[in-house]
Amino acid sequence: MLGAGYFGQFGGRFVAETLVPALEELDRARQEILPTPAFQAELHELLRSYVGRPTPLTEAKRLARRIDPDGGAIAELLLKREDLCHTGAHKINNALGQLLLAKAMGKTRIIAETGAGQHGVATATAAALLGLPCEVYQGALDMERQAPNVARMRLLGARVVPVESGSRTLKDAMNEALRDWVTNVRTTYYCVGSAAGPHPYPTLVASLQRIIGDEARASCIDRGALPDVVIACVGGGSNAIGIFKAFEGDASVSLYGVEAAGLGIDTDKHAATLSRGRIGVLHGAKSYVLCDDAGQVTEAHSVSAGLDYPGVGPEHARLRDTGRATYVSATDTEALDAALEVARAEGIVVALETAHAFAAIGAIARREAEARGRPARILVCLSGRGDKDLDTITAYGGGK
């Protein structure tokens, strides 16, 4: 018999015994506090008046024509604008919900891991708003390539702890956050940033992020029809699961996740866990993992710090295996090209994570249009804005 928190054969709770009672406590809070009218009212008021929800859908006509000049593949291209959330990405939906929960649980200290820094900034923001001390673990390499977010976290009063071990990226930051948590578990709340980690995090994070999909679905219906295709980038997979959840029951809607192919999925420099990983356990959950024949986790690579992770949330592993969602990938170069294209066509600077979703639109649209015998209505989760990536994007696009 499987333990708690499984999605098919994926998920579970693979942690040191010291953390099990804390995860049980969190799961109780998730079930007993989160759904109460008082909690929901407080969360939704903050999402409205502080985060700026609901976020709009933007129709991207110019981008659609640039990707699909003759109009044979794309009938309509809609962008769910999570970049317009306070702090510039969907991560605030989760951080605010979890920190309200932490406060209700009586926790007095917050820790988080971050890759690109968007979850770190969101957690530091929510901690400042709620008056909680906050420490964020970030790989030293990521601190260099996402320097603006490091400055933002510090400005917001958080302590940013550089992680020098391993690949000095998100995976190592999560290792260090887990070490902090196991040491300070009685007082400290660990705010996990993606729909990954041990049960109940994947379920908790998905439940806080599904507002993306619920709003987008309602907006599509207001416009007259469900989309044919939903596309989102996948690192750990929180924005993707957040938008997929609302459409999972709509059989006519195809779901696509786009992973980071780095220098190419046939090289050893990529982060395409669902395309090239094997079943393993990393950071407390059974899912697909990039690891070698001996079970050592291998270092991922992506130009995008937020996707540079050798694991993926367990619910995506199930969606992949059941075929309900399809996972493709985009390389560093394809993502950078897409970021430039979106900026010039639509006047939106997208995060490099998000740019991976945009890079895959053309191929997915052609495939879906062919299967459906008509141009497809496409919804893309624009998960975050790219201010943090300006150095990388401008260095790449300087001559273009």
């Binding site: 693979f14 071990s165 887990l178 070490r179 393993g280 356990v281 950071h283 407390g284 001996a294 079970g295």
Partner: protein, 278 residues
């Protein structure tokens, strides 16, 4: 009787506390770990934990994380650690516990790991990130090979949790009773010693709850702290586990000879301290 259970019977009969020594196998090399293990046994270790280095050791502090990095660089894998185990077994009857994170076991295959472990002369597995709720399949394949799976308890394990662990970790037919690993404090390996005397009293309560030997680990870094952690002769823990403090001595030694001398000296110090009348 299983070798590891026999060892606890002998220790109890002699009124001695068990000294369990953890070695990160492959640090500094696979060959050296085999020698260091035999040195530790010769100097008075009762049980050896043979650590499989893992790329993401989230329960370990910096010393053992560095040891794991060196061991991986030296080519250590779960299967190579078991080769070292079989070389130790050829020279010693000391109980051997394979100490690992779960991913190497899952990727190599639970049944294959259990079979290889039995062939190598290992007595039990301890999988640090595999709570008993997730350990059912591994316990079954291990029992089929005559191996135990060691459960862990922590200071955060409340009464209901202890009962759940006890229930889910009852020795299966064919498996040894082995022992329960009691973690002395909330933290990673190698953190500063906490209140070890209190931990020893908790360990005694665990022994009553589980009706199995209890070894206390984490934060034991000297003869004096081993003595404190073991507690009273008639109570306290059944023994102690020492890992980080040994890895630090191996790390700081300048040569292979110096490593062997350091292991011998430190294990002897622990042994003497544990054998002193309380």
């Amino acid at each position: 009787m299983h070798r590891i259970d026999q060892r606890f019977v002998e220790l109890r009969r002699a009124g001695r506390k068990a000294l369990c020594v953890y070695l990160c196998v492959g640090d500094p090399s696979l060959e050296a770990s085999g020698f260091l293990a035999l040195e530790a046994i010769d100097a008075g270790a009762d049980i050896l934990e043979l650590g499989v280095p893992f790329s993401d050791p989230t329960a370990d502090g910096p010393t053992l994380a560095r040891a794991a990095e060196r061991a991986i660089a030296a080519g250590a894998t779960l299967e190579r650690v078991l080769e070292v185990a079989s070389r130790i077994r050829a020279r010693s009857e000391a109980p051997l516990v394979l100490f690992t994170y779960y991913n190497p076991v899952l990727v190599v295959g639970e049944a294959k790991v259990a079979r290889l472990a039995r062939e190598a002369g290992v007595d039990a597995l301890l999988v640090v990130d595999l709570p008993p709720e997730e350990a059912g399949p591994l316990r079954a394949v291990c029992a089929a090979e005559g191996l135990g799976v060691v459960p862990l308890v922590s200071p955060t394990s409340h009464a209901a949790r202890v009962e759940a662990i006890r229930h889910a970790s009852m020795p299966l037919d064919g498996a040894p009773r082995a022992f329960v690993y009691s973690i002395s404090m909330t933290g990673v390996t190698g953190a500063s010693p906490s209140d070890l005397a209190a931990a020893a009293r908790d360990a005694e309560a665990m022994r009553r709850a589980f009706d199995r030997p209890v070894l206390l680990g984490f934060g034991i870094d000297s003869g004096a702290s081993a003595r404190l952690a073991a507690g009273e002769a008639s109570g306290g823990a059944d023994g102690v586990v020492v890992g980080t403090a040994l890895a630090r001595r191996i790390e700081q030694a300048a040569s292979g000879d110096e490593q062997r001398r350091a292991v011998r000296a430190f294990v002897s110090e622990l042994r003497r301290a544990l054998d002193e009348p309380a």
